[in-house]
């Protein structure tokens, strides 16, 4: 029989204390868009549901020291509606428009999206190209985890059993443009087959710097660092963007599943990367 306890911490100390006590048995419930599915499908049968959805310490979207700081309990919809986000990082707002659907955006959080260590979490490529940090807390203190170190393996992240994600920190970029493209099997509400995020700092069509991240093509969301290196310093045109983008197929290890074949994932990754780069350069019609 299903056997759950419910606990709503009044403050961060209570949250960290129960997480320290129960470790994995404490299941954090922000919007529940993952957790309730596990419970309903029966893969999660017991535990303590720790409701952090309205915990003030995990709320807030603010600019601080050149970073955009997003509380772990902030929902996607609130992030999209935030004036700070619109002003400082419209790329984030625009990219979240393809995240799930309005019902799920109303309850889901960025922290919850990445906490599962899923390779198809749609916020992961965004955080990767933005060089974000994940702030984790436990009763012994806080630490900032660079997003590049955050994903360990399929379903596993750097967050320890007694830790809680409290904030996502994104350095506000001074220059550059970003583009997130997602390929799903339908337009409304679908898991990504492949997703690609690009942050491009260009001088005209010359690449000063580029960051590329992909979802759905490896056990982890990943940065395509070799492809980035190839792009750097190049003067781009429609033709060489396509050629350079092909390099990304050497950096990924997609699988075949019910949503798509490995070969398609690989080839379409290059196509999506080209598209994203062209969009960053304003070349898309």
């Amino acid at each position: 029989m299903k056997n759950f306890k419910y606990f709503r911490p009044k403050n961060l100390d209570e949250l960290l204390a129960i997480k320290n006590e129960l470790k994995e048995e404490a299941r954090l419930l922000a919007g529940g868009s993952n957790l309730l599915v596990y419970i309903k499908e029966g893969s999660l049968k017991s535990g303590t549901l720790v409701d952090i959805g309205s915990l003030a310490a995990l709320k807030g979207i603010r600019e601080k020291d050149g970073y955009l700081e997003i509380g772990a309990a902030e929902t996607i919809i609130d992030i999209m509606a935030s004036p700070v986000v619109s002003e400082k990082l419209p790329f984030l707002r625009e990219s979240l428009r393809v995240f799930a659907n309005p019902l799920i955006r109303n309850i889901s959080t960025v922290a919850g999206n990445i906490a599962e260590g899923s390779p198809i979490a749609d916020t992961a490529p965004l955080l990767l190209v933005l060089n974000s940090e994940v702030v984790a807390a436990s009763i012994t203190g806080r630490r900032n985890i660079p997003i590049d170190d955050f994903f360990i393996s399929l379903g596993k992240t750097e967050i320890k059993a007694n830790e809680v994600i409290i904030t996502i920190r994104i350095p506000i970029p001074e220059t550059g443009r970003g583009k997130f493209v997602k390929l799903g099997l339908r337009k409304g509400t679908s898991c990504s087959v492949v997703s690609v995020a690009v942050w491009l700092i260009a001088n005209g069509r010359g690449v000063e710097d580029i960051r590329i991240a992909l979802g759905g093509v490896a056990p982890l969301p990943l940065r395509a660092v070799k492809t980035e290196a190839l792009f750097r310093g190049k003067i781009l045109n429609e033709h060489n963007i396509g050629e350079l983008a092909l390099e990304v197929t050497n950096e990924i290890t997609p699988i075949t599943d019910v949503r798509g074949g490995a070969a398609y994932r690989s080839e379409v990754s290059a196509a999506l990367l080209s598209k994203a780069v062209r969009e960053c350069l304003g070349m898309e019609e």
Binding site: K187, C191, V268
Partner: protein, 769 residues
């Protein structure tokens, strides 16, 4: 033809739309009864295996578990199914259907045991306490392989469960006359109904010992199946239908009713059973997947000379309606075209996949994908406009089909196709990587059941003392407004307002049997029965009024609760003879002439099919129409965006225009899903898409506004000349979209759904050529 109706054909505000939007409708799952148990089904996790041991002891011992049943507890667990569709060629099949699997399971998800407990959590825990041991048996999942002699047998000694053929003219000669021939193979998916409402119901034994089952049923006549399993007289089982939250054929076969009957009968307690969304996926039948091979020839002037089709459908592990579906495919295989030489060979084959059965379109839409792809390619080969080419070949009234059935209604195909195309408006431009294209497809689909089934429908209509009317009909309301149609028909004929007519429907012991809400038959059959009964009641009134005023009844009119002389008879002296309806009813009552009628409508009857060769009429009539699409294809990724969509059908006569358009839009959306994204995937019999986040249906973001064009020839066999639209609305969608993709990118997709990956591959194949 020019008769104006007060109600018929107008936009009628529905009986239940507002309640549905507000969430006020009481659906099957919403019923509860005091002391009610909650049930769950224990199901197979093997596709083909012997059950070596089944131990229910621990489940039964769990606190709160009231009833656990396996095959040995079912009074009549097995029934031998010698379905129509087994022909002289195939021979008697004797496929055994079982309520609960006894010794052997044949597909993943097959029911093995039932649990009823005090609450759902306990029932679920009990499922985990059931112990089972399997011994795997050889299995077969590919219907083409399953046809071969050495393949593992699912039932009996032949996996081919039905074979149909059509022979018309001389096929060799037909192809010899052709200047161009297109020959291609096609595949269609195993589509999931994905109705919003799960299969659900509640059962109880009443104080007369009758087993009552209240559930979401497209076929309330299943009370007979429940009675047969329980070993009770038919009169001891009552089915009360509910407003249905979507069916599409998914609630046509047995769903929860036998399990509910068994559990209430065995436990003596009320029981509720609702399938989970996952169970709806892996345990319930799907649309049969088809392999189709088509060869079509035409002269350089664009006249079709010959068509040969070979069809194979996957029936899955049990014999449900796949043999019937195959008849539909065989008869509809030519498309709505006159072709002098036709040869069709069709098989339905058992496998260890999930069983397949009824789904909107019922064999008519799988072939539509193939024949309309063929027509499009032939037009290209002939360098003819695809509409002009089709116009040279459309079936029209008086033509004979490939199975020698004369078309007796208007077909209006040229109008439908032209108007569907025109409704798309101006064409979009596209860009370097996004190509825009247009396509259309025409189709035909029967309405009404196969005529050898001798279909009938009953309705009872009366007039109350105050002149209002009650209609009783067994027809379930599937969400298409079936009750509303009866109300409109009776109100029109009796000269009443809509809210003066009340319809009681879908109760096997209260309402006269009206038959199933399937096969696009509900309006045709139950509408005609209600029409007949209302006409009989009107006659009673007019005859009585005639006697009262001394004017011949044919000169009288019944309207707004008054009996008038017909308009052309109206003069000052006749106005005095106007009678109120209530006066006439009182007069009837005084003389014992109760204004009520139980009427039976009989569809045309034909002789049963006795051989595998179909050479006689099978259907009463057909609905014809066309759908058109404009798509944008991303040539880098293969993604398709539907830009514009239109659908045009001759529906004979609209009863409620809102509902007609609703069916046309919904049918298009479901057909687009079949063409672009829906595919229930199994791997070695293991279902992979049993949840709605893996099995994707179109959302509002995937569909443009759908333009509807309603044509009314008033030539149908339904009331007021109506035809059916429920199933015809889905049939032409997939080929319209596929033809549009072909137009956009120069590549044809032969295997629907046309996913981005399939389009990407096809484009790559073209580039590499």
């Amino acid at each position: 033809m020019s008769e104006q109706y007060r109600i018929i054909g107008k936009r009628i505000g529905g009986l239940d739309e507002k309640d549905k939007v507000l969430g006020n409708v009481i659906f099957a799952e919403d019923y509860t009864l005091p002391g009610m148990l909650h049930a769950r089904v224990f199901r197979s996790t093997r596709a083909s295996a012997l059950i070596k041991r089944l131990d229910l002891t621990r489940a039964k011992a769990l606190d709160g578990v009231v009833c656990v049943l396996s095959a040995e507890d079912v009074p009549n667990n097995e029934s031998v199914k010698n379905v129509v569709g087994q022909t002289t060629e195939v021979g008697l099949l004797e496929a055994t259907n079982q309520v609960l699997a006894r010794d052997r399971v044949r597909f993943y998800g097959e029911a093995i045991a039932l649990v009823a407990a005090e609450n759902l959590d306990i029932a679920e825990e009990a499922l985990e306490l059931i112990e089972i041991e399997y011994e795997d048996l050889p299995a077969i999942f590919d219907p083409l392989e399953a046809r071969k002699p050495g393949a593992p047998k699912i039932h009996g000694d032949n996996n081919i469960i039905s074979a149909w053929k059509i022979r018309k003219g001389d096929i060799e000669k037909g192809f010899a006359q052709a200047d161009v021939i297109v020959e291609k193979s096609y595949r269609t998916p195993r589509q999931e109904h994905a109705h919003i409402e799960p299969e659900s119901g509640v059962s109880w034994i009443d104080d007369m010992g009758v087993v009552n089952i209240r559930y979401a049923a497209q076929v309330i006549e299943h009370y007979r199946d429940v009675a047969a399993v329980l070993g009770l007289p038919d009169s001891r089982v009552r089915v009360i239908g509910t407003i249905i939250g979507g069916g599409f054929g998914g609630k046509e076969d047995i769903t929860v009713e036998i399990f509910l009957g068994l559990l209430a009968w065995k436990s003596g307690r009320p029981v509720k059973l609702t399938y989970t969304r996952e169970e709806m996926g892996f345990a319930r039948h799907k649309r049969p997947p088809y392999y189709l091979h088509y060869k079509t020839g035409a002269t350089k002037d664009g006249k079709l000379t010959a068509m040969e089709a070979k069809l194979v459908s996957d029936a899955g592990a049990y014999v449900y309606l796949s043999p019937w579906i195959l008849i539909y495919s065989t008869v509809h295989a030519t498309g709505p075209y006159f072709i002098p030489n036709v040869k069709v060979d069709a098989n339905s084959v058992l496998t260890n996949n999930i069983m397949t059965s009824a789904f909107r379109g019922f064999g008519g839409m799988e072939v539509a994908f193939a024949y309309e792809s063929q027509m499009d390619e032939l037009a290209r080969k002939l360098t003819m406009d695809p509409l002009e080419f089709r116009k040279k070949n459309f079936l029209k009234k008086g033509d004979e089909t490939a199975n020698f059935q004369t078309i007796t209604s208007e077909a209006l195909l040229p109008e439908a196709a032209s108007k569907a195309l025109a409704a798309l408006g101006g064409k979009g431009k596209g860009s370097k990587h996004k190509k825009v294209g247009r396509g259309f497809a025409c189709s035909w689909q029967s309405y009404g059941r196969m005529t050898y089934l001798h279909d009938t429908s009953n309705a009872w209509v009366n007039l109350e003392m105050d002149g209002s009317s009650v209609v009783r009909s067994g027809i379930p309301d599937l969400g298409g407004g079936q009750r509303e149609s009866l109300r409109a028909i009776v109100a029109e004929i009796l000269g009443l307002k809509l809210d003066e007519v009340h319809v009681i429907s879908t109760d096997s012991q209260v309402t006269p049997p009206a038959g199933t809400v399937t096969a696009t038959r509900a309006l045709y059959m139950s509408g005609n029965a209600a029409r007949l009964a209302a006409e009989n009641v009107r006659k009673i009134i007019l005859d009585q009024a005639s006697a009262m005023v001394g004017v011949a009844p044919e000169k009288l009119k019944l309207k707004s609760k008054q009996v008038y002389l017909a308009e052309n008879q109206a003069g000052p002296e006749n106005q005095a003879k106007k009678l109120s309806l209530v006066e006439v009813i009182k007069s009837c009552a005084a003389q014992g002439k109760i204004p009520q009628s139980l009427a039976t409508f009989k569809a045309p009857f034909t002789e049963p099919i006795t051989t595998d060769l179909i050479r006689d009429p099978v259907f009463a009539d057909f609905t014809f129409g066309a759908q058109a699409a404009e798509v944008e294809v991303d040539t880098e990724t293969g993604e398709v965006k539907l830009l514009k969509y239109s659908t045009a059908y001759d529906i004979g006569q609209a009863i409620n225009l809102n509902r007609v358009e609703g069916q046309m839009e919904g049918g298009a959306a479901q057909g687009i899903g079949f063409g672009l994204m829906e595919d229930y995937i199994e791997e070695e019999g293991i279902p992979l898409t049993w949840n709605l986040h893996e099995y994707l249906v179109p959302t509002s973001k995937d569909l443009p506004d759908i333009e509807t064009v309603v044509l009314e020839s008033r030539s149908g066999k339904g009331p007021f000349g109506a035809k059916g639209i429920g199933e015809p609305a889905i049939t032409a969608a997939a080929p319209a979209v596929i033809n549009a993709i072909r137009d956009a990118i120069g590549v044809r997709i032969y295997h629907v759904p046309a996913t981005a990956e399939r389009i990407f591959r096809a484009l790559k194949g073209k580039r590499e050529k």
